[in-house]
Symmetry: C2
Subunit: 435 residues, 2 copies
Amino acid sequence: MAQLDHTHDPKLESWVASANGHADFPIQNLPLGVFSPRGGGPRGGVAIGDRILDLPAALAAGLFTGEAARAAEAASGAALNAFLALGAGPRQALRRRLSEILAQGSPDQGKADGCLQAASDCTLHLPARIGDYTDFYVGIHHATNVGKQFRPDNPLLPNYKHVPIGYHGRASSIRPSGVPVRRPRGQTKPPDASEPGFRPSQRLDYELELGVWIGPGNELGEPIGIAEAPGHIGGYCLLNDWSARDIQAWEYQPLGPFLAKNFASTISAWIVTPEALAPFRIPQPSRPEGDPAPLPYLTDEADRNEGGLDLELEVLILTPAMREKRLPPHCVALSNARHMYWTVAQMVTHHTCNGCNLQPGDLLGTGTISGPDQESCGSILETTLGGKNPIVLASGEERRFLEDGDEVILRARSRKEGFAPIGFGECRATILPSL
Amino acid sequence: MAQLDHTHDPKLESWVASANGHADFPIQNLPLGVFSPRGGGPRGGVAIGDRILDLPAALAAGLFTGEAARAAEAASGAALNAFLALGAGPRQALRRRLSEILAQGSPDQGKADGCLQAASDCTLHLPARIGDYTDFYVGIHHATNVGKQFRPDNPLLPNYKHVPIGYHGRASSIRPSGVPVRRPRGQTKPPDASEPGFRPSQRLDYELELGVWIGPGNELGEPIGIAEAPGHIGGYCLLNDWSARDIQAWEYQPLGPFLAKNFASTISAWIVTPEALAPFRIPQPSRPEGDPAPLPYLTDEADRNEGGLDLELEVLILTPAMREKRLPPHCVALSNARHMYWTVAQMVTHHTCNGCNLQPGDLLGTGTISGPDQESCGSILETTLGGKNPIVLASGEERRFLEDGDEVILRARSRKEGFAPIGFGECRATILPSL
């Protein structure tokens, strides 16, 4: 696991004034991404306050040497796969050097200032070419809640507490925050219909997930042991795994969700590094009395001690009427990554235990992270009990499922006494009407 | 659908003598792939008899002009994605020109002869970078046979005859014919065990499938109508979707197969074009009396008339003992692509009906194509009834599931009176013992 060092010092301030006290991107965060400045092509950058440090420009200005320069070079192109492949050493060297460059009183301020872009003038892209996307199901409250609706007699299946359940998702339809999502059409069979029909989904939902970027991969046939798994994790993002529940209910047996999910997934555009999250590691949440112990291949003391993550996760909705009335987005769920039943290291190790190869830039989703109560449900299906109990928004509007024009916003915040809070930046998208 | 022209003339012969009467690669086939000659790097090529035409060399020799040159250029690199993106027009122009160049009496023989490599001296690679891999389930006999074993009361679920069921697979672990496959380890829970364990799979299986290469893709949010679907199909291959049945039985609910499948898939290395297969199109097999008609979005007259494919599909096994005794591979199943319940065009249209985007070089699998009887089952799970009735091989050995050292070979052959038979080349791999 990543060590704490001076880059985590909560007293550290940046000469980029907007960074100090910034909700997402203070100097203690330093996430990486790919952006285009106005009139320019895509390139690697680092978020700092409301600015983006242009990495190829900073390299050209001679701000990096040695291992940090190697990392900055790998993070300068239109996709960060090469940077992710480098792993922890170069990534940490880059973080230390970025912290120096951007710190209050840095002798490099003059050179670096010319490499900053206003984030509001830039377009954010996917930070990497996603080879394969896998979605897990480690939110046990979500699995139980949804299980009750799809299988009332049998909510949590017998394998759940033994297997970090996962399945393959669609990589091609993942888009960065801000790209609208078109309501999908598909086959559905309402409970009262004798035959299925083809129509726009009537039960469109969000899913509050954490995304995990794979750093160095493994060769086909060579599993990643649980102790080595953290070395293969390149960073984190927010993930909204949009779901059409009516399509899902009709199609998902026996091979799992397909068109109910693959029309779009939205991620936050910045890769938040394991180092930035190091202060917020917690022990893996203890399993309820009577739950089976994980099998030995999923068991590791370090993972048990610090495999969890204390990260507040929030879902907000902004409707067209709210936008018109200038109301702020309405929080419909507040959850926390600590509600994961399996750790990210366990996800990585399980994924590769059969020899399956992960590659730099692959994306893992945790699955929906719901908390134990109705206010912490990560999908509207859970919050409204399948549409039965509508959410009432600040505008007075009701929502059983998402409507056209609704914007869904995910946020993540880490807070811990003695450390600067950091965030992930937003993961947001608006629903367009069906074709 | 592709038209018949002089390139399909069964009397056409090539000056490449081994092509004439070749089981797979006569001049009527002309499949494309990526190969490395001895000591050289990967590049595009065309299989002709026991030779490979080096496309960049043929381009440099001035053998192509116009649209055929554009296609040959796109097919010259280390991956054919750019060629697949071009679609039917350039692909057909290239086919016509290749047929001219390689035909008996061609004035280009002198130039082209220098561009041939002996296939036995070359290494074959994956023909494209596979972005996403989707596996369908269109073999209705397979779905019924397997359904009986996993769900005795409920073999074919109510959605099967309405929905071309599919799910996402793993792209990173797809390998070309010849690359060995390591027996996976994983969680299994034998029927008599109270708790799951972690061990090498004891029920390792093959799956006989057809692979479909996506040609031009579609934009996210823009479905491909059924009439347009054939224009998005770039070619075909054989696909062995290796499956660990004991891992599958324990993990697959509720989200579908995951580690039971993603440790390896093997494909034949040559892209057999829709043009090469044009003579072997047949009407979509008629649905049994009483089956529902497909919904309108999956209905098209041309697809009904020629959406099927008459293609013999064969599974052979070669064990170490057979290799020692110099016995030939033993045929354990003979099936046919005509047993698909849904057409490839229906697969493409269904996949995109929610707006999901396909990209050039994506791979679709049909799912296991079993015929109606015990001799035409495309998986050993079906042939042996879940291991109960072993296969007896020519060597006298029995197989309930695959053993270490076994080699599985898939073959495809199209035959029709008045046309030259063509094949796909082999799709073969040997099982290595578990780590």
